[in-house]
Symmetry: C2
Subunit: 220 residues, 2 copies
């Protein structure tokens, strides 16, 4: 599975930012982690560090946007599904030694007031998650307003609980969030998917559309 230099760089950058945020990751760190020489970074990403971060965030956003639908899919009760999302997140986090799961929120918190170009990128990723999640729940017969609320509450509670869990080295915040959030939606039935299989392609494009395009138009 030979990946392109471009991809290797982006993967390394995403991995580093997941752990250390944006400012603390140096280009030299990316060089070391990717194996690519510094010249290649600037050849493939003339926009420098900001461009690398932008594209890495878009990629991560697409990958993690599938997470909630994937975890919810096997369930037919919304309350159970919500609980499952949080217990699954708690298990994953404990299994990885409380490392961060996703670079988007860490970077978002850091750049929201300072690097407008990355703020809009993280905003596009969040919007994609929110719109994608809402569409998914609507498709499963949740009324639109409720679908939007569940998605927003779910993403917000997850991101907040992640920070607490990582810092406290405890799964409590994730488990409590699930336990507190789920009861309100217990009994809300989810319609069976048309096919037996999840179809993640249905709602994958939103963050990419807006953010990747803007990154293409930025060469020097």
């Amino acid at each position: 599975m030979a990946r392109s230099t471009r991809e290797t760089i982006l993967t390394a950058a995403a991995e580093l930012m997941r752990h250390k945020g944006y400012a603390a990751v140096g280009m030299k760190d990316v060089v070391k982690a990717s194996g690519a020489p510094i010249g290649s970074l600037y050849h493939h990403f003339p926009g420098g560090k900001v461009q690398i971060a932008r594209e890495a965030l878009v990629n991560a956003g697409i990958a993690y946007g599938m997470l909630i639908p994937t975890l919810v899919d096997p369930h037919d009760d919304l309350g159970e599904a919500i609980e499952a999302v949080f217990t699954q997140a708690a298990d994953d986090m404990a299994a990885t030694g409380f490392a961060n799961m996703c670079p988007v929120a860490s970077v978002a918190a850091e750049v929201a007031d300072t690097i407008e170009e990355l703020r809009t990128t993280t905003a596009a990723v969040f919007d994609g998650w929110l719109d994608g999640g809402t569409a998914y729940f609507v498709e499963r017969d949740v009324p639109h307003a409720a679908a939007r609320d569940v998605t927003v509450a779910l993403v917000g509670a997850l991101e907040g609980a992640f920070v607490l869990a990582r810092t406290l080295r405890s799964t409590e915040p994730l488990l409590v969030a699930g336990r507190v959030l789920a009861p309100a939606y217990r009994g809300q039935r989810l319609r069976d998917r048309g096919s037996g299989q999840p179809r993640p392609e249905d709602r994958t494009s939103s963050p990419f559309d807006s953010a990747e395009r803007s990154s293409k138009s930025r060469a020097r």
Copy 2:
């Protein structure tokens, strides 16, 4: 109101970290913002940048630890109180142009995997909020387990919604979080406070005890 150089430095550092996180704030930024010369920073904080961050976070933690009890205090129904916390947060955030409200979570996300000394500091601050909030709700007659759950869920949902709101430049995440979280607790009565006045001193000491002490014992 002449404040000591020490205080001025800590205030400036907290303000900067609130906006830019930890790594992106340079000592030179603190010099500029505080007006104190670089030598004074290292005179008062021999531990350098880490020590300044640590003490700034402890101070901010104490200040923000009073926020939830203060906002909840006028209410006698837990559901209403929760809703009030989020609408108030949304108003504040919109009023300040979606600037971050508190440096603790931003820094926590950045350092959780990288600077153990600051991870333990932010953990102590979170623990203080959680223990203080739990004690406050217990005092208001909420059963202990429920009091802990509400506090954990409240803090987690707030921090997550803050990141989304700041990034999206929208109060929606805060308002939705309140709307979704509140109903589960509507009808849960809160006992009248003994005196008519809030007494914030009752539960103010926790983060300070553990974190400030450790910072004192660290002189090169």
